[in-house]
Amino acid sequence: MTLQEAKVLDYETPPPRPANYTAFVVEYLGLVLALVGLIVIFGLRSRSFFSPATFRTIANQIPATVIVAVGMTYVLIIAGIDLSVGSVLALSGAVLGVLMKEYHLSLFVAMAAALGTGLLCGLVNGIVSVRWRLPSFIVTLGMLEIARGLAHMVTESRTQYIGSAVGVIAATSLAGLSLPFIIAILTALLGQLVLSYTVFGRYMVAIGTNEEAVRLSGVDPRPVKIAVFAIVGVLCAVAAIIDTSRLESAAPNAGAGLELQVIAATVIGGTSLMGGRGSVIRSLFGVMIIAVLGAGLATLGARDETKRVVTGCVIVAAVILDYYRHRLGRRSR
């Protein structure tokens, strides 16, 4: 930046709100193009892609993944990671199922218990990693096993078939949109608003950027970090409620592999694994891209193994792309 461009800020009033539209469009354009591109490619390759069955598959998968992706976006932003989301989902679902099936408690009480379970798991993740300064990778890896084991213990490794008492949530629709879908969208919107416009969101980004600088500025990063993990836990429970409702049953192996799907979605959405950068809305796009990819491959007759290979390649490609985007951004400065 030359001396001519730089000047002392000397107007009486601050400049008007900056219009960052170009950057905004560029960031989202890539994702939108990718999504549209995928839809077009699959639509052309297979007649059955644009079918109610496909849309129903996608629409069913998305809500739970989106909700967890909101939490995962937060965790990645503070430069952490949560590998236990699938297991916590299973445990929360298991608690919900067992309380309704074995103990015949009402839906509301069981939901409260499920949310509490998710919250507890999240708090444990957060407190352990903060108090002993352990990498969240390790702590949540432990929770992955613990929660999964507990889910099996609670259900005695049997799927709990509950029925319409829980199915009512998934079955409800408002203005043609299913309740889970609405919850997912609202969660994403709220998640993005909190991230962009609240002090908590600012702290998250700052902590992920330079935690030590935040600490030395007099802001204690520890409660924020613990809160983020707690939020993820609760969101996993919400996703569990939705999934359990959709299937009208709670299975102890629910959510297997969810963590990788969600991490893939957030990374494709441009959230940095290094922390300090991310967007819930973009993660939403990431979820849709992964869902469309999976459904599209299925309509092409691809086997599960093939889907996994392709999804894995897409994730790596997304991270490499992110690396170049980062460098381009830095060089233009």
Binding site: M1, E5, A6, K7, V8, L9, D10, P14, P15, R17, P18, Y197, T198, V199, F200, R202, Y203, V205, A206, T209, N210, E212, A213, V214, R215, L216, S217, G218, V219, D220, G276, R277, R333
Partner: protein, 503 residues
Amino acid sequence: MPPPLLQLRLLSKTYPGVRALADISLDLLPGEVHALVGENGAGKSTLGRIVCGLTHSDSGQMLLRGQPYSPASRPDARRLGVGIVMQELNLIPTLTVAENVFLSRMPRRLGFIDYATINSQTRQILRALGLTDIEPDRMIASLGVGQQQMVEIAGVLSRKCAVLILDESTAALTSRETDLLFGQIRRLKSERVAIVYISHRMEEIKRIADRITVLRDGKLIATHQADEISIDEVIRLMVGRELGEASPCQRTPGPVALRVENLRCGNVVRDVSFQVHRGEILGFAGLMGSGRTETMRLIFAADRRDAGHVYLHGSSTPARIRSPRDAVRAGIALLTEDRKQQGLLLPMSIRANITLPKMSAVASVAGWISGGKERTAAHRYARVLSVRARSTEQSVVELSGGNQQKVIIARWLYRDCDILIFDEPTRGIDVGAKFEIYRLLSDLAEQGKAIVVVSSDLQELMAISDRIAVMSAGWLAAIFPRGQWTQDSIMAAALSGYRAAAV
């Protein structure tokens, strides 16, 4: 006189913003111990690093045994017979002594490391050095710092060198270990090895050196035979002539704002006590490693202290400050030494960097940030400090060092702290911005803030401080009021902790 072993001709090196070395020409004779002295930033370590291949000069030439010598890297220099032992240890703590000594040249048998050989050879090396209490199979991490330093020295000495550079390598040694080292140095001398001895420790230099070269501001000031010059004269050459002090600020300090008593942390900060008044600038001078930054971090609770109390605003009960958050709430601000790593949120905007410590002022109770309030506040403080930028939305990573520093200062002004601790506030900043910051510090003092400035630039401290405290080897050696200091006396105080019997 024998022909010189190593000849340096017009070596120069410039780092961004600072001339580290300017046309240094020096001859090193075989079998001599040549001491290199100078203040912080005088260029001693830079010179050592260039000679041993760690970095390259911008211009100039080096000749080893009359042949052009320009090592590409440290191992390259090593092969040519030039080695260095630095203060930062190059050891791997989780490996054993023998493994470290032989790290780059492991003898193998059938693909496996020949432990028998390296252990026995290392034992011989250690015994030859007089280190009878270190076994070759001990893990480095289990040794004391002094012992680790000796192991590093042993490793370097075990391979034949023609030129050996010792950069502050006695910093961690006990007097017994220093004696052992000096014994080795004398042995090397008899083997016609040339030794460059970089140190602050005047007594040691007097003991061991044949010639002394003084550097100042990257220039070679003088070279003398060690027995022809006194320590006081060396000090005088190190600091240069007395410069007229900048217009003294006529400030009357107010009541005591900060009182520090018996602050202690290991060997790094030893029983430090002082006070700072409102409306006063207290400068902190001292050599690198004297404990100034560490002291400030202890006051701010960025690090945990072993002992000591902090009293605020004349209170008789110690303030309860256990984390930077407590410190900031109590009205203390710390502008860290390393603004890039510990201060700035580099990719984020000027605005975000300024408002960080007190977001409650620009947000509602529920936590929603008011964009307008925040922009206004950030803009106001950026303007007060004359931050040069396109707008407060600009990312701080794009700003010059001086402007980055101003953003951090703006942050603390926004937070409204009464006690401001600045650690190297003008490091890496061009001259124009430096004077702006001096003026700013003066204004802040006039507003009644209590200010502490840690700086390695003695001229700077003498220009802006009302009093100067001098730290040396973790002790608070002296506090000079304005008008009662001289460069010599400050430097002597800064060296005093190292002159005392080593612990």
